[in-house]
């Protein structure tokens, strides 16, 4: 029972972290109709910038400034890169963001090298918040949960309760009409792109100390984020939230409970073959849930795309 609680908290942390990325990504998608392949790269940049700033000014300055820099950078890339490619159609746009992801990874290696950065949890938060049956829950995890939830609430508030949010929502569905009403739609797009990437930056700042700040960090998380928003339904913020949490919990539980395929098969009434090394299905027998934890999201996505192409909460087909 206690273990379940610990896993619930761990899964929540992973899920909310994913959500901070997928929220921005899904906003950008509903705006431009294009998946930003480089989204996780902005997350990585957030971590690196925050690390660099924390060396001089400490963690809190990093938390404040790194996302701002990332957001400005993102807006700049939208303005001078993506907008240019937009005229050629969706496929070149997708390819552009893909190339951008490659280039950012190379640039990060160029500037900071290939090793992991010693970016760590600030001392103020480096203590055990409480423990459950001997499993200590670090305060930083609680801090991460707190930050992500406040961002979600803030986002929801801005989108549904403010005038800017109304304009954005309208611009997502009817860009031409909104433009005709005298709003600067390209500016809105740039702004949303900036905010989306800044959110990814925040995620990087708070995830960097826990998951490690290294050049591969974007790649590790990147494709999972797409999977998340595809499962949730492209363009749906709620879908992104549900899918993020779902994936967070599924992977956490699969990793911590060592369920072996042989047990399942035995339970179904199949006998374990005696000579395992000669058996062509030997790999099926030796599979355990931690082994496949990382590919569960992909399996889920493919199934979703086959049986419910619009995703869990999506309205339109992808």
């Amino acid at each position: 029972m206690e273990l379940i609680l610990v896993n619930l908290i761990d899964g929540l942390v992973t899920g909310l972290l994913l959500f901070m990325l997928s929220a921005g990504l899904t906003l950008i998608f509903s705006m431009m109709g294009v998946l930003n392949f480089a989204h996780a790269s902005f997350y990585m940049l957030g971590a690196y910038f925050a690390y660099q700033i924390s060396l001089a000014l400490g963690f809190w300055a990093g938390l404040l400034f790194a996302p701002l820099i990332v957001g400005v950078l993102g807006a700049g890339i939208e303005r001078y890169g993506l907008r240019r490619v937009h005229q050629y159609g969706h496929v070149p746009e997708l390819i552009f963001t893909f190339g951008l992801a490659l280039l950012i990874e190379e640039l990060v290696q160029f500037i900071w090298g290939k090793n992991q950065m010693p970016y760590s949890v600030p001392e103020v938060l480096d203590f055990t918040a409480f423990s459950i049956a001997g499993n200590s829950i670090p305060a930083f995890k609680i801090f991460m949960i707190f930050i992500s939830i406040s961002i979600f609430i803030g986002l929801l508030f801005v989108l549904t309760k403010t005038r800017v949010g109304m304009i954005i929502q309208a611009a997502l569905s009817y860009p031409r009409t909104v433009e005709a009403l005298g709003h600067n739609v390209p500016l809105i797009f740039m702004g949303v792109f900036g905010v989306g990437t800044a959110l990814a930056g925040v995620a990087g700042v708070i995830a960097g100390p826990v998951l490690g700040t290294f050049p591969g960090m974007a790649f590790v998380l990147g494709s999972i984020v797409f999977v998340t928003i595809v499962i949730g339904g492209l363009g749906s913020l709620w879908g992104a939230l549900v899918a993020s949490l779902l994936i967070g919990w599924i992977t956490t539980f699969a990793k911590s409970y060592n369920i072996a395929m042989s047990d399942i098969l035995n339970g179904l009434g199949f006998a374990t073959p005696e000579n395992m090394s000669e058996n062509p299905l030997r790999d099926l027998w030796t599979v355990t849930s931690p082994q496949i934890a990382d590919i569960l999201p992909y399996i889920l996505m493919v199934l979703i795309l086959i049986f419910r192409p619009a995703g869990l909460f999506g309205k339109r087909e992808t």
């Binding site: 998946l35 890169g81 240019r84 490619v85 050629y88 969706h90 496929v91 070149p92 997708l94 390819i95 552009f96 893909f98 190339g99 951008l100 490659l102 280039l103 190379e106 640039l107 160029f110 500037i111 090298g113 790649f219 494709s223 797409f226 999977v227 595809v230 492209l234 062509p280 030997r282 790999d283 599979v287 082994q291 496949i292 990382d294 590919i295 992909y298 399996i299 996505m301 493919v302 795309l305 086959i306 192409p309 087909e317 992808t318």
Partner: protein, 432 residues
């Protein structure tokens, strides 16, 4: 420009009528001859290895472009089809070795092709119902799944170390046992010509033409009696087939396959190669594969930072030349037809040479920054463009900076006259 993304519309028909079949056949004969004499010019073993790699990449890129360029389907997991074909061939190779199956090696890629196609049929049965984001995401998901499976399903993929084999146990083929690299080279070249020809011909068949139609306007194609889904499915299977052939050749050439042949990085590379070469023309991916392999092998010997340059080149291509290198070449056809291409030579030299020098200057600065930041402590000497200097002194920075500034400056100053010459060369009539 719309005609950049057209796959040579209607021109062949015109040629046929003009009775100049030679124009369509000639490139193939030239290519075949070039493939035959290449090893006579570049004799070293490493050159042969590079060429083998290049030709395999050409097949793979052409197969990839059957989807991207001709069918408008963007796949992020296409290495899987080549990789699976390769793994399957490797198992057959080992089977031949263990059980003495009488199979001549040159036929092996065919099995890879069939296996690649079989897998494409399974995946295509549900992924080809749409071309856009849905297709791209399924391809990504399937790619990640298979790549992850390669570490789990050890019986087929061999786990971390992959599986390896020995190609020389096959039935000797007219006395050739494929012990030597050069024999493998000719085997690959044969399959290259054959596959490229078949892929070219595929684009001229009814289903190949409809692939273009579905890419441009799936709905209209539906109202012409074709199911967009089935047209995509056929292209997808054909692409899987040729990817599998490339995989089989890879197995023969390298005698080892690992997770690296399946993963997202490999899938990304082939997208890069194809787009760089140009998706709008049949020969685009060929140029892309050759240029990329050269960049990869030659540039990576020169600098650790080659991936940055390739990444930057790729982004620049997407932003400024979405037609890729092939598009760039074909842009000059109108001027050539008007007989005015010669007028472009001098303006080109005036702009592009300083630009190239300027870019080299920027590269020098980048290399120096890298050396300055990451060089071992005390290691202040670096060699760049055959010059050895101390990267911690000011002078080299000034020189490189000046070269970059002057080069780019001149290029910017001469660009307007190039533009003028370009417009002139593309206008019919007038003084030439």
């Amino acid at each position: 420009m719309t005609d950049q993304i057209t796959t040579d519309p209607g021109k062949p028909a015109q040629r046929m009528r003009a009775g100049s079949l030679t124009l369509t056949v000639a490139p193939w004969i030239i290519a075949a001859i070039a493939l035959m004499i290449m090893p006579l010019i570049f004799q070293s073993n490493s050159a042969l290895t590079i060429m083998n790699q290049m030709w395999i990449t050409v097949i793979f890129a052409l197969a990839y472009n059957m989807l991207l360029g001709q069918g408008g389907m963007l796949s992020f997991g296409h290495a899987v089809y080549m990789g699976l074909g390769g793994f399957f061939c490797m198992h057959i190779m080992n089977y031949v070795e263990d059980f003495g199956l009488a199979l001549p090696l040159p036929l092996l890629p065919l099995f890879g092709g069939v296996f690649g196609m079989g897998f494409a049929m399974i995946i295509g049965s549900f992924s080809t119902s749409g071309a856009g984001t849905r297709f791209a995401m399924i391809s990504l998901g399937v790619g990640e799944l298979i790549a992850a499976c390669s570490v789990i399903i050890v019986a087929f993929f061999g786990g971390e170390e992959g599986i390896s084999g020995d190609r020389t146990y096959g039935l000797p083929f007219f006395g050739i046992e494929f012990l030597k690299q050069i024999e493998v080279y000719y085997l690959i070249s044969f399959w290259l010509i054959l596959s490229a020809l078949l892929m070219y011909l595929f684009s001229r068949t009814p289903v190949g033409r409809m692939a273009n139609a579905v890419r441009d306007n799936p709905e209209r194609a539906q109202f012409l009696g074709y199911s967009a889904r089935w047209v995509r499915f056929y292209s997808f299977c054909a692409s899987g087939f040729f990817c599998g052939i490339a995989g089989g050749l890879f197995a023969i050439s390298y005698e080892i396959l690992t997770e690296e042949n399946l993963n997202a990085a490999s899938s990304g590379v082939i997208l890069l190669v194809t787009f760089l070469g140009g998706v709008g023309f049949f020969f685009g991916p060929i140029i892309g594969a050759i240029v990329f392999t050269l960049l990869q092998t030659v540039l990576s010997l020169q600098t650790e930072l080659w991936a940055i340059y390739v990444g930057a080149l790729f982004l620049a291509t997407v932003m400024f030349f979405p037609g890729g290198l092939a598009g760039l070449i074909m842009m000059h056809v109108p001027a050539y037809r008007l007989g005015k291409a010669r007028g472009l030579v001098v303006p080109y030299i005036k702009t592009l040479v300083p630009a190239a020098i300027g870019i080299l200057g920027i590269c020098a600065l980048i290399e120096m920054v890298f050396h300055y930041r990451h060089g071992a402590t005390g290691d202040v000497e670096m060699t760049l463009f055959w010059t050895t200097f101390d990267s911690h002194t000011v002078l080299p920075w000034v020189i490189a900076g000046a070269i970059a500034l002057v080069g780019i400056g001149i290029a910017r100053a001469t660009a307007p006259s190039l533009k003028e010459a370009w417009d002139e060369a593309n206008t019919a009539g007038g003084a030439s």
